[in-house]
Symmetry: C2
Subunit: 375 residues, 2 copies
């Protein structure tokens, strides 16, 4: 695992703050990874993504294997060079989006065959091919191919799915192409069943990975059940390896997961919401499409360091959203990513100072107040 390491620097209860080191740069944890679906964090220049405070971005294997194709990315010098993001990149395995986006998908022991949702081309994704693709993309953290167990699932369904994911994890590790500073993470499955989660975690550790993800959450089970699953899963994960909660989440999902010992997150929410006129603030979400902002000269969020808040009014952002201007997506995405980075920065700081509980209480009460001040 040359060039890849993780150290816990401070803990506060189950929560930890630490540092992942890779050859392409350090990742401060808890870390939020903006999603760069198709080789771009939508509506952002990569240097602006970095300005928000991001240490790492995520690339989607499914999208990239379809277009422009992993082989083409490799010919262009890899994903970092192609998208002008020299820092760490994590790629998922492609499995999750095959199951949610692709057509005519067929899953068996070998892998998943499917048709591209873009042009109908036939593909086969196996653990071996997923490792090959992630190697071609050249990301720093690879993910094993797994089946994201649908929710709800019976115990028998969840067990069969978890066992398949375990076999695929073993094949993924065997096929993983090591490179300096590169790591392959395992993914714990088992739906909402504590003993399945424990068995999955144990089986993966027997295979051995430098990091572990918790998968199969944020798929409709709700925040309370998600936290329940973390409560029974995280204790089965090794203390000295980073823990990544995939596809999560809303700000308070992240806060609750950090409290439960999670180190890494990714989610399309800040970027997707940014393109829909929805902003995240310390006082909860603000829908800038709402007519009440039309004459509001105040910044979206007082004291925020992002360009949307420093240089524009709510009224102008409202106008841009209504007029469907690209600048609306650019500015609100920038704000939202800044919000998420400031959230994790605040959590890191609070954990380091041993005052996480008070910090979480302050965040929670801020969100609860709501964005209700009259102009």
């Amino acid at each position: 695992m040359t060039g890849f390491s993780f150290s816990v620097e401070a803990t506060d209860g189950a929560a930890r703050t630490g540092l992942i080191r890779t050859v392409r740069g350090d990742i401060r944890t808890p870390a939020f990874m903006p999603v760069g679906t198709a080789g771009t964090v939508k509506a952002m220049l990569p240097e602006s993504v970095r300005e928000t405070g991001a240490d790492i971005v995520l690339g989607n294997t499914y999208h990239l294997m379809l277009r422009p194709s992993a082989e083409r990315v490799a010919r262009l010098g890899g994903l970092h060079r192609m998208m002008n993001w020299p820092r760490p990149i994590l790629t998922d395995s492609g499995g999750f989006q095959v199951m949610s986006l692709a057509q005519l998908r067929k899953l068996d022991e070998n892998g998943v065959s499917f048709q591209s949702h873009i042009d109908g081309t036939q593909y086969l994704l196996t653990p071996e091919r997923s490792m090959e693709i992630q190697d071609l993309l050249g990301s720093d953290i690879h993910m094993v191919l797994d089946e994201c167990t649908p929710f709800p699932a019976t115990e028998a369904e969840a067990e069969a799915s978890m066992n398949l994911s375990t076999r695929w994890a073993r094949r993924s590790k065997a096929a993983f192409r090591q490179a300096p500073g590169r790591a392959l993470f395992g993914i714990v499955q088992g739906s909402i069943y504590p003993h399945l989660r424990a068995r999955s975690a144990a089986a993966l550790q027997e295979i051995g990975f430098p990091g572990y993800a918790v998968g199969g959450l944020a798929v409709g089970e709700g925040q309370a059940r998600m936290f329940d699953v973390l409560d029974v899963t995280v204790p089965h994960l090794p203390h000295d390896r980073p823990r990544y909660l995939m596809g999560v989440g809303k700000p308070l999902d992240i806060v609750g997961a950090v409290v439960r010992g999670i180190d890494m997150f990714d989610c399309v929410l800040p970027t997707r919401s940014g393109r829909n006129g929805q902003a995240f603030t310390r006082r909860g979400p603000v829908n800038l499409r709402n007519a009440r902002h039309a004459d509001d000269p105040r910044p979206l969020e007082e004291g925020c360091r992002c360009p949307a808040c420093r240089q524009y009014s709510r009224a102008y952002l409202h106008h841009l959203v209504k007029a469907e201007e690209i600048l609306a997506s650019m500015l609100i995405t920038w704000h939202n990513l800044t919000h998420y980075q400031d959230l994790t920065e605040g959590l890191r700081d609070a954990i380091g100072k041993g005052r996480l509980a008070a910090h979480v209480a302050a965040i929670t009460s801020g969100y609860a107040r709501g964005d209700i001040d009259p102009p």
Copy 2:
């Protein structure tokens, strides 16, 4: 006209280079004004627009009066403050877009009534209301309300239309609300008829304006006829006032118009093309959607100072265009605006050095070569 002035600094044949001074900053001529239709130069942060070299942007009265409305812009501190562009802004009169975009429009001596293309609201645009709106927007250069004579027009139609525009120009000047550094420009009409253009220019000078636009061109007449009209119109305009060719154009249209003594231009082409995957280069237009770019690791244009060329490959830009990523619009628009600003910068420099003919020959032969090098 306190705070607004124009000085010709050098000439080369009919071409001139000079400086317009306003209280919000200087405008180097020949100048290209990026179009900020609805209070934003589409897909660009204003600081990025400035980085391309733009001294002034254009705002569209028609779009802004409909949404967010001139009164709302005024309440938000004016257009400069609302859109975070502290430098000069020119607003058109709204007339051109009423005739091209609005519904149920009816033109008579008083003005134009129409329905918003956005929500069907009924509006009336008169010379007086156009001046009021441009005052509320707070732009630095206002344009008289005119009728952009459709092409083709018979001589009788063109004469009647030109005479109406002259009467509206007089009413516009009477209603114009002076402010420090603010100027109102007249607009020469007369279609393709030399004696009508001459009469229009004379009538406007009798009214008296600090700048003169040539209107009614770039409406389908073709480059040769446009140049013919400039040849017979520009000599009737005063040497000591800026000359603005409205809505023009392609790079070689601008070059030919500068040679004929035009100082200012605006056009949606670099921004609109940027959103359609079309890039302007010194070797002519490049359609980045074309599959031949899919594996091309070269920059869009060698030596270009814009971020699209400095940091990305043609293959990546092609990918972004195909994937309909917002970043495609952002980067290609940035490139195109840089191209247009470099074009006018080069023309200013050549005129200053008295070697415009050689410079124009070099530009023209560059465009003629085409973008044909194999990767």
